[in-house]
């Protein structure tokens, strides 16, 4: 482990006005020599890993950091190479990126858009980072993506599930590998129909902020299309810790399915409360009452304990997948850290590789060249089957997993089982889909 110690200094634009009065003997400016922000000049290139290290998502952030370190190790030719061996593009050979050794800096987003931007800015301004990646919530992803667009660096989003990230808030310099709420809904709906029939009444509890709303909208639309009725949509405050007063009325509403559009701590608590109220043992309208958690995360499922058993949801990736790429990733991650990686770890590992690969193929670190290389890029061998980075909105289209809480887990990591792998075609939507309308990519910005 000998990374970082970042020293080179990044430049934003230079103005002759500022500091003009301060003439000191030995001045030379390294100003407009560079063609784009933070052009790496020495033998190293610096990536900025901006993850939550404090606050409720700190564990997810820690897992992302592990994956980043693994990716950097692999890129620099260390370890067993992980998914670099299975990746369909073969330009990455373990010699760094374009011959430059990969170094990284880390920062704490605190899961606050403000703090995340401050942290990203310090990486760009102080440490000379050429690419920022990471994060564990959509608010942060959108905020940092906006910053990177303005600063002229590439943003490779971490865990962000809101439609907006590649919808109304999409940016030319930003890319998302993770799936989104629409894709969750498109993958889940057919499975739910098969399991629970097409005559169901759904009750939505939704975290009252943008991500929650886009997921609620997506799931409601997908389930209504197959015949379900949406009885009620109730917004819950983000700060809520006890959901009893929102869960209590569910049974009397005539609904027979409860959809929890919650993530993280909210999800753990609302699911725990719902199970406490015995909803799952009840019969309504002559059918068994069911609970659905559209966005599952294994790390969070662990917090809910046995309450997840038998509950369906979707996830971006799961370590129990048996394709070569997933197996290779689980092996190198597991051997290094002693436990299997989470979906957050997987997605950020992929993002790092995808960025490095794009730079290699473009032959330049220039963000505009990287954008060009990533747009419309088709690849395989990163664990989700054949994948497309669509040029229109910088969203990855790939298989989505529908999972279920396992009845008899064999270990503390073995909480979910894959029920179905929904093929990419089924979750693909047109780029001008109304749920994603209202934004524009704009032009790529190389800064400087």
């Amino acid at each position: 482990m000998s990374n970082s110690n970042l020293t080179r200094r990044g430049l934003m634009k230079t103005s002759a006005l500022a500091g003009a009065g301060l003439a000191l003997p030995t001045i030379f400016t390294a100003s407009s020599a560079s063609a784009f922000t933070n052009e790496p000049t020495g033998g190293t290139v610096t990536l900025g890993f901006n993850v939550p290290q404090s606050g409720p998502y700190a564990d997810e952030g820690a897992d992302e950091l592990r994956a980043y370190q693994l990716a950097v190790e692999h890129l620099n030719g260390g370890g067993d190479g992980g998914m670099m061996n299975t990746f369909s593009s073969k330009v990455l050979q373990g010699g760094g990126i374009l011959g430059k050794k990969v170094e990284f800096v880390t920062g704490d987003t605190q899961t606050k858009s403000d703090a995340a931007r401050a942290s990203a800015k310090s990486m760009i301004e102080k440490d000379g980072a050429i690419m920022i990646t990471g994060g564990s919530s959509s608010g942060v992803a959108v905020a940092v993506q906006g910053l990177c667009q303005e600063a002229g660096v590439i943003f490779m989003a971490g865990l962000t599930h809101s439609n907006d990230t590649t919808g109304k808030d999409k940016k030319a310099n930003g890319f998302r590998h993770f799936f989104n709420a629409y894709m969750s809904a498109a993958a889940l709906a057919p499975v739910l129909q098969k399991l629970y029939g097409s005559e169901r009444k759904a009750y939505h509890l939704t975290a009252d902020y943008t991500w929650g709303w886009t997921q609620e909208e997506s799931i409601a639309a997908a389930t209504e299309a197959m015949g379900w009725e949406t009885v009620n949509k109730v917004r819950t405050p983000l700060a809520a810790t006890d959901f009893s007063s929102y869960i209590a009325p569910v049974l009397n509403s005539g609904a027979d399915v409860l959809v929890l559009n919650h993530y993280g701590g909210n999800m753990v608590n609302s699911l725990t409360n719902a199970v406490q109220f015995g909803l799952r043992e009840k019969q309504v309208n002559g059918k068994n009452f069911e609970i659905v958690v559209p966005l599952y995360s294994r790390l969070m499922a662990r917090g809910a304990g046995e309450n997840v058993k038998g509950i369906h949801g979707s996830t971006n990736w799961h370590w129990s997948l048996q394709d070569d790429a997933s197996k290779a990733f689980v092996k190198s991650f597991g051997e290094k850290y002693g436990f299997p990686p989470s979906q957050a770890a997987h997605t950020v590992y992929c993002q790092t590789l995808l960025y490095a690969d794009a730079v290699m193929r473009a032959g330049s670190f220039n963000p505009c060249a990287v954008v060009e290389a990533l747009e419309g890029f088709e690849f395989d061998g990163l664990g989700n089957g054949k994948t497309l980075y669509r040029a229109d909105d910088h969203q990855c289209f790939k298989d989505v997993l529908v999972v279920r809480g396992k009845e008899n887990p064999t270990s503390e990591f073995d909480l979910l089982e894959v029920v179905e792998v929904t093929p990419a075609a089924q979750v693909t939507y047109p780029a001008d889909h109304p749920m994603f309308a209202g934004g524009a990519l704009g032009n790529c910005n190389p800064g400087a």
């Binding site: 404090s54 606050g55 409720p56 998502y57 700190a58 564990d59 820690a62 009252d208 009620n232 109730v234 917004r235 819950t236 405050p237 700060a239 810790t241 006890d242 009893s244 007063s245 929102y246 209590a248 009325p249 049974l251 009397n252 701590g265 753990v268 608590n269 725990t272 409360n273 406490q276 109220f277 015995g278 043992e281 009840k282 309504v284 790390l299 969070m300 662990r302 917090g303 809910a304 304990g305 046995e306 309450n307 370590w319 129990s320 689980v330 092996k331 597991g334 051997e335 299997p340 064999t410 270990s411 990591f413 073995d414």
Partner: protein, 343 residues
């Protein structure tokens, strides 16, 4: 009707947690005159006492089961707990199952000990310092405590289940002549409410009917005079701090099965519990309990769809709104005494 009864139950349940935390906070404030921002952290530590006991009971040895493999394809290690080997699988399993109730016994000495150490080691030096200093130092302590917990237990919530007997819910509706499933309420939440009532009752009767309690109450009213009578108030106040810490801790232990404990749960409750204490009136024990239940019930009602459809977002702000209204109509909260914390 059934919806209203349900929300009253919810309110009582939420109110129990608020009241218990506020009670401890008021005890510390009333006796020692200290604004304790670390009180939420004590609640959190209480919950982690339950987590810790569960972990201790689950300490196990590993044997290799060659017939199964783990995620890397190596032979699977199977864990067996010592408790199960010592007491037999059935008794052992039920001991583990009852980890949370057992943690009550486990937590009392720990919480009282933490309370003593906090008071003697830190708080004692801050009696004569301005409230702002007390806030800063206890806030610093709260951060330190939660970061220590995070270091050992991680940031994710840790599931801590109630004993199997208390799983599921009780059907009030049948009892009151409603349809089945009209009013169901989880057993453990009922237990929590009963437990809170017992603790609150115990604290009040302790203060009301024992000489120790009388001295403390007299000290709360007029510390100097009681000191002049030659009674060592300081020692009693240390004990009160221990008791307050234990009350917060017990509230936390019992809360663990309701929502999985995480390291920042103390901070989540901190602001709310201060609002409760102030709405009740600084230094008033009955006020704290009353305000706890009042705010709990109002919060539950505000989350009803019928009410949310009239005033959108009311459930987000109800507690603060009520606090503002009460403080403007009753200058010192519901039952506050004059001159306490007014300057």
């Amino acid at each position: 009707m059934d919806a209203i009864i349900l929300q009253i139950l919810n309110g009582l349940d939420k109110g129990s947690a608020y009241a218990l935390i506020a009670l401890g906070l008021t005890l510390i404030f009333g006796t020692l005159g200290v604004v304790n921002f670390a009180h939420g952290a004590l609640f959190m530590i209480g919950a982690f006492c339950a987590v810790t006991l569960q972990r201790i009971l689950n300490i196990s040895f590993e044997t290799i089961d060659p017939t199964r493999t783990d995620f890397l394809g190596n032979p699977m290690k199977v864990k067996t707990t010592y408790v199960e080997t010592w007491f037999g699988p059935e008794v052992g399993a039920s001991i583990i199952d009852w980890a949370v109730p057992l943690a009550i016994l486990f937590s009392i000495p720990i919480m009282i000990g933490i309370g003593f150490i906090m008071e003697r080691g830190l708080i004692k030096h801050f009696y004569k310092r301005p409230h702002a200093d007390q806030i800063l130092v206890t806030f610093g302590l709260a951060i330190v405590l939660q970061e220590v917990i995070k270091f050992f237990y991680g940031a994710n919530p840790i599931p801590t289940g109630a004993p199997d007997v208390f799983k599921g819910s009780f059907d009030f509706g049948m009892l009151l002549g409603f349809e089945a499933n009209a009013i169901i309420y989880p057993y453990w939440r009922l237990v929590y409410f009963a437990f809170a009532a017992v603790i609150i009752g115990a604290v009040f009767s302790f203060l009301q009917f024992t000489t120790f309690g009388m001295v403390v109450r007299a000290g709360m009213a007029d510390r100097e005079t009681v000191g002049l009578l030659g009674i060592n108030i300081d020692k009693r106040f240390t004990i009160m701090f221990g008791i307050a810490a234990a009350v917060a801790g017990l509230a936390g232990v019992m809360y663990a099965p309701i929502n999985s404990p995480n390291y920042h749960m103390g901070m989540d409750f901190l602001v709310l519990s201060f609002v409760v204490v102030v709405v009740g009136g600084m230094g008033s024990l009955p006020g704290a309990v009353l305000a706890g239940f009042l705010l709990g019930i109002l919060e539950s009602f505000a989350s009803m769809n019928e009410i949310k459809s009239i005033i959108p977002g009311i459930d987000q702000i109800i507690i603060y709104l009520v606090a503002i209204i009460i403080l403007l109509t009753r200058p010192r909260g519901l039952m506050g005494r004059k001159g306490v914390m007014e300057d």
